[in-house]
């Protein structure tokens, strides 16, 4: 197992700090329409460094911060952490456990942390480079996008290039 847990706090509909423990095998995420399932997928893309707001179903990056409800005020910061296991030395670091965190305040840039030490986006990218996580062809398949795999446009078949790269 590589992915141990995902923690969301203030990210989209996850106003309360929520830790999701992930086990081995196949985990089914279930719940009614609009309850937050796809938001978990967005959170994973986001913490891995997603820069395109469109790919996060948002217009500006601060749209991912909990916007409030009729009962609750909006929050001013969103944070997502990924806890990863490095026992198989998949990652180019010493530690056997790695935490990757991304945080954004309203009207500010994203901040990244690797094991709680401030990092840059490029550090996060280098950490995952060649591990096959996130950017790998189709390892994250968004809702409604399955048909797009079948597009024959060269720009859409990024998968071949990324595999070959």
């Amino acid at each position: 197992m590589i992915l141990k847990s995902i923690e969301l706090f203030g990210f989209k509909s996850f106003a309360d700090r929520t830790k999701i423990e992930i086990r081995d095998g196949i985990s089914a995420i279930i719940g009614p329409n609009g309850c937050g399932k796809s938001n978990i997928l967005d959170a994973i893309k986001w913490v891995l460094g997603e820069q395109s707001t469109r790919n996060l179903r948002a217009e500006k990056m601060e749209d991912v911060i909990f916007a409030g409800t009729e009962q609750r005020k909006a929050l001013n910061v969103a944070e997502v952490s990924l806890m990863l296991c490095n026992d198989d030395n998949l990652f180019p670091v010493e530690m056997s456990e790695i935490q990757v965190k991304r945080r954004i305040y309203r009207n500010a840039e994203s901040e990244y942390f690797i094991n709680n030490a401030p990092a840059k986006l490029k550090d996060v990218r280098e950490l995952f480079f060649d591990t096959g996580i996130g950017k790998t062809a189709y390892s994250i398949m968004e809702q409604g996008k399955i048909d797009a795999i079948l597009s024959n446009k060269p720009e859409d078949r990024r998968f071949i290039f990324e595999e070959a790269a």
Binding site: T18, Q71, I133, M141, A164
Partner: protein, 160 residues
């Protein structure tokens, strides 16, 4: 780089044909470079022949057939380079019961190599999972996690 592309492409092509046959229970499918002389820029056409039907461009296939072809391609690429974890959001939406069975059958083959997070509304898909993560909104607009025991034994423990 062209060479690495061609090797990867050849592997994906081969895997695609075989995973198609497993998912469709027969027939055949092909990847075809639109422009074989300009491999790195060329588009790729997909042709598919479900069992008993004719080989045709995938634009003529049904919604469910297209989803199944996409799943065949997804797993074909996956076999070339499995990622440690994989998140799939409602990719079974257009599949009928039989094809859901085909999909989860193939998924089971990869479950020991990687962790899969599958978002689905389909009972068949959900009951094939090894663990369940329930998401609810008890309070309007605020997501909450509930752990659910399989075999319909909901214990509603809240992870917060």
């Amino acid at each position: 780089s062209t060479r690495r592309f061609e090797e990867t492409y050849a592997q994906v092509k081969k895997n695609f044909h075989s995973s198609f046959r497993v998912l469709f229970g027969g027939g055949r499918a092909e990847l075809k470079l639109v422009d074989p002389d300009s491999v790195l820029e060329s588009g790729i056409d997909i042709l598919a022949q479900p069992p008993g039907k004719k080989l045709e461009h995938i634009s003529l296939l049904s919604g469910g057939e297209r989803s199944l072809v996409a799943i065949a391609l997804l797993f074909a690429v996956y076999r070339v380079k499995p990622s440690p974890f994989c998140v799939l959001d409602e990719i079974d939406a257009a599949l009928d019961d039989k094809n859901i069975g085909q999909f989860i059958g193939m998924l089971a083959e990869f479950a020991d190599k990687s962790q899969f997070l599958i978002i689905s509304h389909n009972k068949k898909t959900v009951t094939s999972a090894t663990s369940l993560l329930g998401v609810t909104m008890e309070e309007s607009g605020v997501s909450k996690l509930v752990t659910i025991k399989l075999k319909n034994q909901e214990d509603a423990k809240v992870h917060a």
